[in-house]
C-alpha cells in the first residue's frame, strides 16, 4: 500500500532522516516507535507532504513522489499524495468555525466536488461508526479531547484515503478511552483500511499494530512483526528503549 525507499530529510545542515526504507502491506497497521528526536514526527510530515523531501521516494497507491522531481511536478504530486494519505494530528486541528458535520464534509465538497447531500449522508455514516452521530451539529469547541479525536478520524476517512496516519493518538486519552480507540481502529482495519500509527505507548501498539518499526537517529533500527520486536528485539538500542518505555 505504501512503500518508502531511501527517504532523506534535512533542515539546513541537520539531517533528520538519513535514508528510511519500509513498506506497509494493505489492511495492516504499522506502529512507529522511537525516542523524541528520533525523526518519527518528521517521517509522518514527509508522508503527508507537509515537509519537502530531500532524497528517496514515497509510493502510495499509484502516486509516486520522488525527491528528484522538478519543483512544479513535485507540487502537483504532493497534492495527489495528500489525497491518498489522511492524517489525524496529535492536536486534531478541527476547524472551530464549522460544526462537526461541517468539518467532515468540507474537504469532500470543496476538493472532491462531492454533492453536499451525498457528502452529508456519508458523514453521518462515518460519525455513526466512530460513535459521534449525536454530536453532528455541535461545534468542536464544546467537544472533549476524545470526541474531537473521533471527529478528526471521521474527517480524515471522509476523503477515502488509501492510508491513514495517526500522530500520538493516545496522548489526550485516559486508559478507558485508549482501549476503546484501539477497538475502533481495529474495526477500520478489518474494513480494509491501512494505517501508520506513531506512538510512545507500547501497550497501545501491541494491541493494534501488525508490525512495528523502531527508529533511532534518523534511521530504521528494527522493523518486524509486533510480537517479535516487542518480545525478542535484535538490536541493543531497541532493547534499551523497550525496557525504559514500560
Amino acid at each position: 500500500m505504501i512503500r518508502v525507499t531511501g527517504l532523506r530529510k534535512r533542515f539546513g545542515d541537520n539531517e533528520i532522516l538519513k535514508g528510511i526504507d519500509f513498506e506497509v502491506p494493505p489492511q495492516t497497521v504499522l506502529g512507529v516507535i522511537g525516542a523524541s528526536g528520533s525523526g518519527k514526527s518528521t517521517l509522518l510530515r514527509c508522508l503527508n507532504g507537509l515537509e519537502t523531501i530531500n532524497g528517496g521516494t514515497i509510493e502510495c497507491d499509484n502516486v509516486r513522489l520522488d525527491a528528484s522531481l522538478s519543483h512544479s511536478d513535485y507540487r502537483r504530486r504532493v497534492r495527489d499524495l495528500r489525497l491518498k494519505v489522511g492524517t489525524v494530528f496529535q492536536h486534531f486541528y478541527l476547524f472551530p468555525h464549522l460544526s462537526v458535520v461541517g468539518n467532515i464534509i468540507e474537504a469532500p465538497v470543496q476538493v472532491l466536488r462531492t454533492p453536499k447531500k451525498k457528502a452529508e449522508t456519508e458523514a453521518y455514516e462515518l460519525l455513526e461508526s466512530v460513535g459521534m452521530k449525536q454530536a453532528a451539529r455541535r461545534y468542536p469547541g464544546s467537544l472533549s479531547g476524545g470526541e474531537q479525536q473521533r471527529v478528526a478520524i471521521a474527517r480524515a476517512l471522509a476523503m477515502h484515503p488509501a492510508l491513514l496516519l495517526l500522530d500520538e493518538p493516545t496522548s489526550a486519552l485516559d486508559p478507558r478511552r485508549i482501549n476503546s480507540l484501539r477497538a475502533l481502529l481495529r474495526t477500520f482495519v478489518d474494513r480494509g483500511h491501512t494505517m501508520i500509527i506513531i506512538s510512545h505507548s507500547m501497550r497501545f501498539l501491541s494491541g493494534v499494530a501488525d508490525n512495528v518499526l523502531f527508529m533511532d537517529g534518523g534511521l530504521v533500527v528494527e522493523h518486524g512483526p509486533t510480537d517479535e520486536v516487542m518480545n525478542s528485539p535484535k538490536d541493543a538500542r531497541t532493547k534499551d528503549f523497550l525496557t525504559q518505555a514500560e
Binding site: L50, R79, R82, L83, F95, P96, H97, A107, V111, S142
Partner: protein, 522 residues
C-alpha cells in the same frame, strides 16, 4: 509676555509658508493654531493703549494678508486702515490672526476688541454684537469660467452650484434666492474649484474678486457688480464707549482723506465710495447702517434641522463608502504584507506606514487640491470618501494581518492534509476564523471612521461638522446646535456599534451555547 511674543513670532513664521505654497496643505492646521493662540492671548495684553483687532489673514487679500514679499508681516487695505484708525484714537494697533467663521464668537469671548474684516451688518449678527458706522461700500461680483456662456447673471444660477465664502452677505443672498451653493473658507479655494469645474460660478465681494479672479485668464466676470452693502467694524455688545471712539475715528479718516488715499492705493476707490463719503466729508451726515443692509436672514430652526439632516445623510454616505473601500482594500494589503514576495511586502508596508504616519487631514487636502495637477479632480464628497477609505484600509490591513497571524499553523496543515489548495484553505478555513478575531477592532475603527468624516469640512463638504460650524456661526447657538449635532452622531454610531456587537456575540456564542446544551443534557 515672553510667551506671547514667542507665539506671535511663531505665528508669523508659520504663516509665511502658506502664502507661498499653492497647495494650501498647511492652512487649516495653522488656522487652528491661530485660533488656539487667540484663545491663550492674555486679555490685558498691551493695556489701554492697544486696539486689538481680529481678522482672517489666510486667503485674505486685499483686506489683510501675509505680504508675499516679506512674509514676516501682514499687509492689506484694512491693515492700513486700522493703523490709521488707531493713530486717530491714540492707540496702538495689534493684529490677532483668527478664523473668519469664528470671528464673532472669538470677539465675544474677548480674544480681541474689534472685528475688521469686511464684516457686513446683518440682522442676526446685530443680535450678538455692535456695529460701528460703515467705512466701505462693497458690491458683489459673479465669476464664471472663460469658456462658459450659459451664465450671464445670478439669475442663471438657479440650478447650478455656486461657490462663495461662508457666512457672508453673498452666501445669505444665495440662500435667500434658493440657489444651491457651497461655502469655502477662502476665495482661493472657491476660484480653484471653479477652474476645476467642481462648481459653476463664484459670487464674491468685489475687493476679493478683483484681487484673486480678475487676473486669472481661465475665469471671467459675468455681468456687472450687483447689490450694495456695507463693511462695518464689529464690537462687543457692552462696548459702547469703544464704539463711540471707533465711530469718530472712522469719521476722522474719511474727513481728512486718509481712507481715500488707502483705497486708491489698493484700487478700491470707485463711484460708490464717492457717493458714500460725500455727505461725511461735507460734514452733513453719517450713513445709517440700516439704509444699506442688503440681505438679512433670521435664523430658521426648521430649515436648520433640515440642513443638519441632509448633512447627516452625507456623513453616513461618506462613512459607508469609505468603509467598503477600507474593508475590501485592507485584505489584499494584509495578505501582501504577510505572505507576498519581497517587493509586494515592501509596497504594502510603505502604503501602510504612509497612510498611518501622516494626518488624514493632510491626505484629504492633497487629494483635493494636489491631485488636480495630475488631471484628477474629484468632487469634495468623493475625495473624502476615497481619502478616508484609503486611510482606513491601512488600519484595517493591520487588524486583518494580526487576525490572520493569530490562526494556528495547524489549521493550515489540517486543510493541506485534506487536499486543499492554499487559496481554498485561506478562503474556507483561515479567513472565516480571522474574521471573528478581527471583528471587535474593526467595529472600533468604524465608529472612529464615522467621526473622522468631520475632517471633510476642510474641503468644503457639507457634512455634519461643517453644518455645525456654519449654522452655529450664523445663529450663535453653539451650545444647542452642538448638542443636536452630537445627538445626530450618536444616533448613527450607536446602532452601528450595537449591530457589530450583536454579530460578534452570535459568532462567539455558537460554540458556547453548545457547551451549555451539552452540560444540561448530561
Amino acid at each position: 509676555m515672553v510667551l506671547c511674543t514667542y507665539v506671535m513670532y511663531y505665528n508669523a513664521q508659520s504663516t509665511k509658508y502658506k502664502a507661498q505654497s499653492p497647495m494650501k496643505i498647511t492652512r487649516p492646521p495653522i488656522r487652528l493654531f491661530c485660533i488656539l493662540c487667540a484663545f491663550f492671548w492674555p486679555i490685558t495684553a498691551g493695556g489701554q493703549q492697544a486696539l486689538r483687532w481680529g481678522a482672517d489673514p489666510s486667503g485674505g487679500a486685499p483686506y489683510v494678508f501675509t505680504d508675499p514679499a516679506n512674509p514676516d508681516r501682514y499687509i492689506g487695505y484694512e491693515k492700513e486702515m486700522v493703523d490709521a484708525l488707531a493713530r486717530a484714537m491714540g492707540r496702538r494697533a495689534e493684529f490677532v490672526p483668527s478664523d473668519w467663521e469664528t470671528l464673532v464668537p472669538s470677539l465675544q469671548r474677548g480674544s480681541f476688541d474689534v472685528i475688521v474684516n469686511g464684516l457686513e451688518p446683518t440682522g442676526d449678527r446685530a443680535q450678538q454684537i455692535l456695529f460701528s458706522n460703515p467705512y466701505y461700500i462693497f458690491q458683489l461680483q459673479l465669476t464664471v469660467r472663460r469658456d462658459d456662456d450659459r451664465i450671464k447673471s445670478i439669475d442663471d444660477c438657479k440650478n447650478r452650484m455656486v461657490g462663495t465664502l461662508g457666512n457672508t452677505a453673498a452666501s445669505r443672498l444665495l440662500q435667500q434666492q434658493g440657489i444651491p451653493f457651497r461655502t469655502y473658507a477662502d476665495p482661493v479655494g472657491a476660484y480653484r474649484d471653479l477652474e476645476l469645474k467642481r462648481i459653476d460660478a463664484v459670487v464674491m465681494d468685489v475687493p476679493a474678486e478683483a484681487f484673486y479672479a480678475r487676473s486669472n485668464s481661465k475665469l471671467k466676470p459675468a455681468g456687472p457688480p450687483f447689490t450694495r452693502g456695507l463693511y462695518v467694524i464689529g464690537l462687543r455688545k457692552d462696548d459702547a464707549a469703544l464704539k463711540a471712539e471707533v465711530d469718530s475715528a472712522i469719521n476722522k479718516i474719511i474727513f481728512d482723506g486718509t481712507l481715500e488715499t488707502i483705497l486708491k492705493k489698493w484700487g478700491l476707490w470707485n463711484d460708490a465710495q464717492v457717493e458714500f463719503q460725500a455727505p461725511i466729508r461735507a460734514g452733513t451726515a453719517t450713513t445709517k447702517v440700516e439704509e444699506y443692509t442688503p440681505t438679512t436672514v433670521s435664523f430658521n430652526w426648521a430649515e436648520a434641522l433640515w440642513r443638519l439632516t441632509r448633512a447627516a445623510a452625507v456623513t453616513v454616505g461618506i462613512a459607508l463608502g469609505s468603509m467598503v473601500i477600507a474593508v475590501v482594500l485592507g485584505l489584499p494589503l494584509a495578505v501582501g504584507q504577510w505572505k507576498g514576495p519581497a517587493w509586494l511586502r515592501l509596497f504594502c508596508t510603505l502604503y501602510v506606514e504612509f497612510f498611518r504616519g501622516t494626518p488624514v487631514l493632510v491626505q484629504l487636502l492633497f487629494l483635493y487640491f494636489g491631485l488636480p495637477a495630475f488631471g484628477i479632480a474629484m468632487p469634495g464628497w468623493l475625495t473624502a470618501l476615497v481619502g478616508l477609505g484609503l486611510n482606513y484600509a491601512a488600519y484595517e490591513s493591520q487588524v486583518y494581518r494580526a487576525a490572520l497571524e493569530a490562526i494556528p499553523l495547524g489549521q493550515w496543515e489540517a486543510a493541506y492534509s485534506l487536499g486543499m489548495s492554499p487559496l481554498l484553505a485561506f478562503r474556507r478555513i483561515i479567513l472565516p476564523q480571522a474574521f471573528r478575531i478581527a471583528l471587535p477592532p474593526m467595529t472600533n475603527d468604524f465608529v472612529s471612521l464615522f467621526k473622522d468624516t468631520s475632517v471633510a469640512f476642510a474641503i468644503s463638504v457639507w457634512e455634519l461638522a461643517t453644518a455645525y460650524r456654519e449654522l452655529a456661526n450664523a445663529s450663535g447657538q453653539f451650545l444647542l446646535l452642538g448638542l443636536l449635532v452630537s445627538a445626530f452622531y450618536l444616533a448613527m454610531s450607536l446602532p452601528m456599534a450595537h449591530l457589530a456587537r450583536g454579530l460578534e456575540r452570535r459568532l462567539r456564542d455558537r460554540a458556547l451555547e453548545r457547551v451549555v446544551e451539552q452540560e444540561a443534557a448530561a
